[in-house]
């Protein structure tokens, strides 16, 4: 290490469930170069100081969605957050908010996965088609209706940001709602009536208090807040249509 080597202080909230009663902070001094991400800082600590430091990561390019954490209190992907942007100040890292901590920076995602599974996130064909008939056609207008909502990488930063998820863990939440909206908006899909029941349910959109922080932290600009709010309107419309049509709305 040269004398001019820059050193960043990284404070990490550690928690080992088998030996710690409560989470506690540990401070590390990490030499860094300007191209290093916060994730690389954590890897440096694990490789050189303490192999027991635990965090999820894989792709390093903000597409696998593994490495979300609170960095100085803000939910971020650590692979695309750079140490140089904090230096000479200290970086403080914690596990994502609103999730139970399993160990160090690893949180329990099983609740999120269940929500994702509950929204029927697959094409329920409006008009079934055989493979011999080739692809469905989609005009640019039809394509643009849903494409933005396909970009979610399931990083759950929006759950860490959402005040309502914190208050009501059953709230289906921004990412799952955005995915629901993605399928409802797809011209190939005919399943929106089934999905709308969930939208308007106790776990549904009415939990949202329209803070919009979910969209702000989204690393892929999916704008889940927008998806939730469109569905508030749809659910309200649906509610009134029930009075007008004996078969209900959402058709």
């Amino acid at each position: 290490m040269s004398e001019t080597q820059k050193i960043i202080e990284i404070e990490i909230l550690r928690y080992k469930p088998e030996s710690d009663e409560a989470p506690h902070s540990e401070l590390y001094k990490v030499p860094f170069t300007d191209d290093m991400s916060v994730l690389q800082g954590a890897q440096y600590i694990k490789d050189n100081f303490d192999g027991s430091l635990t965090f999820r990561w894989s792709c390093r390019m903000a597409i696998c969605g593994s490495c979300g954490m609170m960095i100085n209190g803000i939910p971020k992907l650590s692979c695309e957050t750079f140490i140089r942007d904090y230096y000479p100040n200290r970086i403080s890292i914690e596990a994502m908010a609103n999730f139970p901590i399993e160990k160090d920076l690893v949180v329990d995602l099983s609740g999120f996965i269940e929500k994702l599974e509950s929204i029927q996130p697959y094409i329920i064909p409006k008009e079934p088609r055989t493979l011999e008939q080739g692809e469905y056609l989609q005009s640019p207008e039809e394509f643009n209706k849903y494409i933005k909502f396909t970009s979610c990488i399931n990083c759950t930063l929006c759950y860490a940001a959402c005040p309502q998820v914190g208050l009501n863990p059953d709230f289906i939440g921004p990412a799952a709602m955005a995915l629901l909206h993605r399928y409802n908006m797809d011209s190939r899909d005919g399943g929106s009536a089934q999905r709308m029941e969930l939208v308007a349910s106790e776990e549904g959109v009415y939990n949202c208090s329209a803070v919009g922080y979910c969209s702000e932290v989204c690393p892929k600009h999916v704008d889940p807040g927008n998806a939730v709010n469109i569905n508030k309107m749809n659910a309200a419309k649906d509610y009134f249509l029930r009075f007008l049509s004996p078969k209900g709305g959402s058709k």
Binding site: K16, P17, E18, D34, C64, V106, P140, T150, L179, R188
Partner: protein, 600 residues
């Protein structure tokens, strides 16, 4: 120990594993499927594939063209009957993905669009902007949720296969969140664990790409085939190795050296083209482009960046911001975020980095390994379509074509095979648990796994890089033998049970060392140059040439406990394409014309 009885066990939840799971579920809803993955399926490295998936689409294209591009691109080391099946199924499987909701990019009239890719004669790469792998993976994951017979074991880490009565009958895995062991019985086991590129230093790959399934099959006597063929992708971010998709060039990007010169014209890929022309210049195959980078460096014509090292420039500026944002949005964001570069205004520094393992678990055309009941698909397998050099966009198609086939085959097998002897399988599983636990509980070691891992990766880069010689490869073989010894002396910082990634990374490193050895020893044994395996040595530099007399053969690496692998050579299936000079650019076009004339 937890016990779960499945009919079909799938290890790996990426594109190949998910496609196989769906195939089993659709072929027989009564079959119980266990889908085991060390990460949540949507984290699998399929997610990072950018450019697209190849399948004949245009009326001007043909299955025969796709066949010849693939076989020639693979320097004739492909199983030609398997390639024929592959190109035929490709458009069907890509259409299936469309029906499941994959947001393929479209033409104005609403059809799926295709783009140009390296080494492909006609545009046939289906793409979803530059996030094709991401969309394929999420489409398959979300579709898999529809099938109740697929039981996922998310964040379960596979540590061994169970073999009894000469058949593979299940696996043993660690539940990562608790550290508890689980035995999962199965009449068929499909390995779909992806590649092994993280044995090298600078790679495009995620941390999970550690060759787990390859090592597992290898230790059970299954050959790893053609492991010396490791693909360097020509346009990667320096140091991190992150990928700038080949679609950058497919859409019209240039590669230039320090003089602003499009140097590929000097390497049999010219003459110069203004617009992208299939199989010319920047649309040549990856092995040739990566080799050209190496030569430019030797000639002192690369840019010597003070921090990044030797690089060339990927120039996208002439494509304009609007077009780049539409076709290459991820690339645009990566250049901005990771490098502080606006690719519409500045050139991107790039160099070649490790990207893909052409070789893998040897399987037949039906994805079956030599151990009955065991199947392998995707990058961990060697079904025979990539030969000595994979063409970009063939591997995303591979995962769905062979995922489907392996699912069907594994289901068929599961319906005919009787259940195993649970008691004796459990005994085996307990012995495996003891062995893996010992890695964690042992004391007195002095080696850090991170140190061994780094030395391995550096040595692979030094000895088994773009160009190879006897002495550099021997040094790597020796280094790997040394590291194998030192691995016995490791000490872990973390002795706990819950989420012990220190321990799991040690198991991964154990896999990596085995796989690295098969690569280095297969490489030193191949005394010729073919595809991604390029040598600079031999008597009168004879190994610089392809040698069809002695080496139109597959390498097969077999496990020898406590020692280096045993390497043998196996036959290549040639049906309708006899080996020829592999030519691109104008030379390639001339050779095509001559072939056509002689066949008439």
């Amino acid at each position: 120990m937890e016990i779960y009885k499945a009919d079909v066990v799938i290890v790996g939840g990426g594109g190949a594993g998910l496609r196989a799971a769906i195939a089993v579920a659709e072929s027989d809803p009564k079959l119980k499927i266990a889908l085991v993955s060390k990460v949540y399926p949507m984290r699998s490295h399929t997610v990072a594939a950018e450019g697209g998936a190849a399948g004949v689409k245009k009326p001007t294209d043909s299955l025969d063209y796709h066949f010849h591009d693939t076989v020639g691109g693979g320097d004739w080391l492909c199983e030609q009957d398997v390639v024929e099946y592959f190109v035929k199924q490709a458009p069907i499987e890509l259409t299936q993905l469309e029906h499941w909701g994959c947001p393929w990019s479209r033409t104005e009239d609403g059809h799926v669009n295709v783009r140009a890719f390296g080494g492909m004669k006609i545009e046939r790469t289906w793409f979803a902007a530059d996030k094709s792998g991401f969309h394929i993976l999420h489409t398959l994951f979300q579709t898999s949720i529809k099938y109740p017979s697929i039981k996922r074991f998310d964040e379960y880490f596979c540590v061994d296969l169970l073999e009894e009565d000469g058949r593979c009958q299940g696996i043993v895995a660690i539940q990562m969140g608790t550290g508890e062991f689980t035995m999962i019985e199965g009449k068929s086991v499909i390995i779909a664990t992806g590649g092994a590129g993280r044995v090298f230093r600078e790679s495009t790959l995620g941390g999970i790409v550690t060759g787990d399934g390859m090592a597992l099959a290898y230790r059970h006597g299954v050959a790893l085939r053609d492991m010396e063929f490791v693909q360097y992708h020509p346009t990667c971010m320096p140091i991190t190795g992150l990928l700038f998709t080949e679609a950058c060039r497919g859409e019209g990007g240039y590669l230039v050296n320090k003089d602003g010169y499009r140097y590929l014209q000097d390497y049999g890929l010219g003459p110069l083209q203004d617009k992208p022309k299939n199989k010319y210049m920047e649309l040549g195959p990856r092995d040739r482009l990566s080799q050209a980078f190496w030569y430019e460096k030797q000639k002192g014509r690369t840019i010597e960046h003070p921090v990044l090292g030797s690089v060339v420039h990927l120039d996208l500026r002439h494509l304009g911001e609007a077009y780049l944002r539409e076709r290459l949005p991820l690339i645009y964001e990566m250049a901005e975020t990771f490098m502080g570069i606006d690719p519409a205004k500045e050139m991107i520094p790039v160099r070649a980095g490790v990207h893909y393992t052409m070789g893998g678990i040897k399987v037949d055309g039906k994805c079956a390994a030599s151990l009955p009941g065991l199947y392998a698909i995707g990058e961990c397998s060697s079904v025979g379509i990539h030969g000595a050099n994979r063409l970009g966009s063939n591997s995303l198609t591979e995962i769905v074509v062979f995922g489907k086939l392996a699912g069907d085959e594994a289901a068929k097998n599961a319906r005919t095979v009787a259940p195993g002897n649970s008691a004796s399988l459990l005994k085996q599983a307990q012995a495996i648990e003891e062995r893996i636990m010992a890695l964690k509980t042992k004391t007195g070691g002095t080696e850090r796994i991170s140190v061994i891992r780094k030395e391995m990766a550096q040595s692979m880069e030094d000895g088994c890089g773009i160009f190879r010689t006897e002495s550099t490869m021997q040094a790597t073989c020796d280094k790997l033998a040394e590291l194998r010894e030192r691995f016995k002396n490791i000490n872990l910082d973390d002795k706990s049970s819950v989420w012990n990634t220190d321990w799991l990374m040690a198991v991964e490193l154990d896999y990596q060392l085995d796989v690295a050895q098969t690569m280095a020893h297969s490489a030193i044994n191949r005394k010729e140059s073919r595809g991604a395996h390029q040598r600079l040595d031999g008597p009168n530099e004879a190994y610089k040439q392809r040698d069809d007399v002695n080496f139109l053969k597959h390498s097969e690496a077999y496990y020898v406990p406590g020692s280096a692998p045993r390497i043998t050579l196996g036959d290549v299936k040639i049906t309708k394409s006899q080996p020829e000079v592999r030519a691109y650019g104008a030379a390639g076009e001339k050779a095509d014309a001559e072939r056509k004339a002689s066949h008439v």
